[in-house]
């Protein structure tokens, strides 16, 4: 879907921002870019929709070289949530959301319909449609920014720290929403964040960057347990591990009951949908190695076992 081959870019001579970077984003992937401030995440994202042209290297979008794309058509094929939201202050929320459709000359009814659909999708009430951006909180603006990027139903969506201004609780809700959009609408997403937990929760592939280079890239398991670079190790570290325990569900590590213990002797239970950390906590609190796991309907599905955990193939 998106291919970078040996791409370099600099704004000023002698100060490279992106250095010989290669990256492939396949169809249906959810790629999260993470790294320290100024490492080039936004720059990389802007190269994906042609806002910034690379000095050297090759970029292909949907198999076609960047230079071969009509720059406007390319941008219309890619949803973009910019880092500072950038809502249009003179337009209502409805018109903001429908902007991508407006410039592609969609009918009024289509635009209205779509705006109504999307405002619900991002969890705002319909009466917000008539408001202007200055009447919204920072977090509400970011939701509108996400809705706006989805309007023309692009296959690829680029999101630059789209949840930076949302509080912790709503952040979780919106993250789930983004995962839902990703899974149900079958999108390819490239997502920038500063938040390690967010990266581990959302990404099917996590890319750790530093000073314009990719330090490490892989699945959440690979990034948390098998990073090969010092930088990524330090950057992700225990915080990443903790996030991992907070995110991976117990259902992914259920094992059979350990030999001499029978199901009836188990008194402690967790739900299969709980994160690993809940199971670990219960074990530690009660000084046991093994507890039972039930699914949402209350059916026994197996055991959660600290010994089993270490045998997991991450």
């Amino acid at each position: 879907m998106i291919e970078f081959r040996d791409v370099s870019q600099q704004y000023q001579a002698g100060k490279p921002i992106i250095r010989h970077l290669s990256l492939t984003v396949s169809q249906g992937e959810f790629v999260v870019l993470i790294g320290p401030s100024g490492c080039g995440k936004t720059t990389l994202l802007k190269m994906m929709n042609g806002l910034i042209k690379p000095d050297s290297g090759e970029i292909r979008i949907k198999g076609k070289e960047l230079k071969a794309w009509d720059p406007i058509t390319l941008k219309r094929n890619i949803g973009y949530v910019i880092q500072q939201v950038g809502l249009f202050p003179h337009l209502t929320i409805e018109k903001n959301i429908a902007y991508a459709l407006d410039i592609q000359k969609a009918s009024e009814t289509v635009k209205k319909e779509r705006a109504r659909e999307l405002i619900q999708l991002v969890g705002l009430e319909e009466n917000y449609l008539a408001k202007y951006p200055n009447e919204l909180s920072g977090g509400q603006k970011q939701r509108v920014g996400i809705a706006r990027a989805l309007a023309a139903d692009p296959e690829i969506i680029l999101m630059d720290e789209p949840l930076g201004a949302v509080d912790q609780i709503n952040r979780g809700v919106l993250q789930d929403e983004i995962i839902r959009i990703y899974q149900t609408l079958n999108k390819t997403i490239v997502f920038v964040t500063h938040d390690i937990e967010e990266a581990i929760k959302l990404g099917t592939k996590i890319v750790v960057m530093n000073q314009g280079e990719i330090m490490e890239m892989g699945s959440r398991d690979a990034i948390v347990f098998h990073s090969k670079s010092h930088f990524a190790d330090d950057f992700i570290g225990n915080k990443g591990f903790l996030s991992y325990l907070n995110i991976v569900k117990i259902e992914q590590v259920v094992c059979p009951f350990n030999g001499n213990v029978s199901e009836k002797e188990i008194t402690l239970w967790v739900s299969a949908a709980d994160p690993l950390i809940v199971g670990i906590r219960i074990c530690l609190e009660n000084g046991v190695n093994q507890i039972g796991v039930r699914d949402g309907a209350g059916q026994v599905v197996g055991a959660f076992d600290l010994g089993c955990l270490s045998r997991l193939k991450f």
Partner: protein, 213 residues
């Protein structure tokens, strides 16, 4: 007191005369205002694309702006003769500066992030201008037009010195015949016209500001 009574008397008895001059004044100013707005806004839009062009054009209009009005009128009389045409040319040249400058400033001061979002979503250059930049710059542009309108209406009073119509005729006649009431009546009407025009534009400006802030 006597003077004010005389003034009222004059305006009443010669009302036809004053109304005609007022209309002439209005038409003269309006023609100039329309030309200035069209030329000024277009120029402002065109130079907004290039900083170099902008500094040249704005510098030039700045220089023209500092030429005393009498000298400017005199200069054009020597080229295009006396009459309305000359008056309009001079008025246009004076009025361009605030409109060009404000259009340019308004357009170039639109927040980069907003532009980036619009470009990033695939706006064409024309869509960017018409749907984003221009509406956002509108309050600043209107402010420029507002000061230009007041200035043009006032300046049109001097245009009669070079044979154009308008309320300047009354002022001029008052001065040359030592008829103070006539001079004051003409000036008052010019001021009134400028005041009303300013008020109307002020209301429009406020409406626009409420939307975009």
């Amino acid at each position: 007191m006597e003077f004010i009574k005389n003034l009222g008397e004059l305006l009443k008895t010669r009302s036809d005369f004053f109304i005609e001059l007022l209309l002439q004044h209005l038409v003269l100013s309006l023609i100039a205002i329309v030309i200035i707005t069209v030329v000024g806004v277009t120029t402002g839009v065109l130079i907004a694309k290039s900083q170099k062009a902008a500094s040249v054009v704005i510098g030039l209009t700045n220089v023209l702006y500092t030429i005393p009005s009498i000298a400017m009128f005199g200069f054009f009389v020597s080229i295009t003769g006396i009459g309305n045409t000359t008056a309009i040319i001079a008025l246009v040249i004076y009025g361009l500066l605030p409109v060009i400058r404000n259009t340019y400033v308004g357009l170039t001061e639109v927040d980069d992030q907003i532009l980036e979002a619009a470009v990033g979503m695939g706006s064409t250059p024309w869509q960017l201008l018409s749907k984003i930049q221009f509406p956002l710059a509108l309050p600043v542009i209107i402010a420029g037009i507002r000061s230009m309108v007041v200035m043009t209406i006032a300046l049109a009073g001097i245009a009669s010195f070079i044979g154009a119509g308008g309320l300047g005729v009354a002022i001029w006649r008052g001065i040359t015949t030592n008829f103070d009431e006539m001079t004051v009546a003409g000036s008052l009407l010019v001021a009134l016209l400028a005041f009303v025009a300013d008020g109307i534009l002020g209301i429009i400006e406020k409406r626009l500001l409420r939307r975009t802030k």
